[in-house]
């Protein structure tokens, strides 16, 4: 074993001890900081998951799924299935309402007999979580059918990667 002066050996020993202690203390502090950061990360992830769950709930279930360009056509088809003759369907407003949901106000003009109007009302009532019949105006004509103007608020799910309609 290499012989060194005692003072040098003791100095080296003290130096090694001091370095070990300092590094040990620093490691302890680092581990404390790491634990704290991991705790914060877990809290943040839990918070993000809760928020995602809340956001996914949205306002309500969608009435149908369609891109913003197709929504008016899809609603028109639904109303035609109820016996209404749809002349025009416009989207008056659209408001984001959670994940992929859009609260859309449709303004529809068409014609229909009282039974179709009743079916429309019952259909809107049955889909009350997804649609609100905001306004309905029916003016009876000579043929027993009425000119209709409907304002309907509906939740529409827009596919995140909806393809543009083919031209």
């Amino acid at each position: 074993m290499t012989q060194r002066p005692t003072a040098l050996r003791v100095s080296l020993a003290v130096l090694a001890l001091a370095a070990t202690l300092a590094l040990g203390v620093r490691l302890g502090l680092q581990l404390g900081a790491l634990n704290a950061a991991n705790g914060d990360l877990a809290d943040a992830q839990r918070n993000a998951a809760d928020l995602q769950r809340t956001a996914r709930q949205g306002v309500g279930p969608p009435l149908f799924e369609a891109s913003s360009a197709d929504a008016a056509d899809v609603l028109g088809q639904r109303l035609q299935a109820l016996g209404l003759a749809v002349r025009k369907t416009d989207v008056a407003a659209a408001t984001p309402a959670g994940r992929d949901l859009v609260l859309t106000r449709f303004v529809v003009e068409g014609r229909g007999d009282p039974a179709a109007v009743d079916r429309l009302a019952l259909w809107a009532e049955a889909n009350a979580r997804s649609a609100i019949l905001e306004q309905l105006t029916a003016n009876a004509g000579d043929d027993g059918k009425s000119d209709l103007k409907i304002e309907l608020d509906a939740l529409v799910r827009s596919p995140p990667f909806a393809k543009a309609p083919a031209s």
Binding site: M1, R4, T6, R9, V10, L12, A13, A16, L17, A19, T20, L23, G24, L27, Q30, A33, L34, A37, N38, D40, L41, A44, Q45, A48, L51, T54, A55, Q57, G58, V59, G60, T95, P96, A97, G98, R99, L103, P114, V117, D118, L120, A121, L122, W123, E125, A128, R129, I132, L133, E134, Q135, L136, T137, A138, N139, A140, G141, D142, D147, D153
Partner: protein, 280 residues
Amino acid sequence: MPNPAETEPPSNAPPPQDEVFVRAVDLPTLSLRQARAAVAQQLDILSPLPPAEVAAAVVLIGPTEAGLHRYAVGLAPLRLLAEAPAEGRSVTLIGRLDGEIVAFRFDRPRTGIGGAGDWIEIATIAGACLAILLAGANLRVDREIDAVQARLDATDALVQQRSHEVAQVARVAGAWRAAAATRKAGLVDCALTSLVKANAGPVRVAGLAMAGGQLTARLADPPVDPAALKALGLAPVATPAVQTSVAGAPAGAEPASAPGEAAVPLALAHDFQTGAAACR
């Protein structure tokens, strides 16, 4: 003066036998420590063996004529010292200088772990190794903290984004619930059914308007039993609810005013109004 114990072997020692290589060195000092240092510096010259393999012991013989001091330098192989019988920390070997027997006392070479110095060195090495390990762990944990912090920042940004989304959804949901509570589509069905019930048969409806949770129906003909209508929640209104023409109605029934202007009470008896709470 030389120590007699060092120049003469003990009286009960075994017969003298040359065990070391002896040389004479003349030095100007009387200090044994200085003499040992001088010999140590010239060990490669004095020793017939490689200096790393020999141990040296110095014994003062006496003054020389030139005013120097003569020392006997005993050189023994370390192997010999290690194999010598244990007598504490030193080994005494016999040498001969100019026919005179000289006893040299050598320090026993250390073959194992002994003294506090050794332990200090061992502790120093262990401490240094531990320090290296701790330094590595420090770096590793540093990187780990950076990675966790980066993930935490990303998650915080996500939380912030989702908080905005949730706030927007909550705002829209509040408005939606408020509207849903007052705009009941079933009111149309209820009102039409009530009109049929009150008329005890089919009824001609000239117009229908529903807005703000209130429904106004304009009958084409006066009601048969207004009291029955009222009992079913359909109350006559003083203002016309529909602005457009009524089928079969006289031209005078057409509202003369534009929408939003003051209503003309021309068809008071034909207009009935109900709400979700009143309709039965």
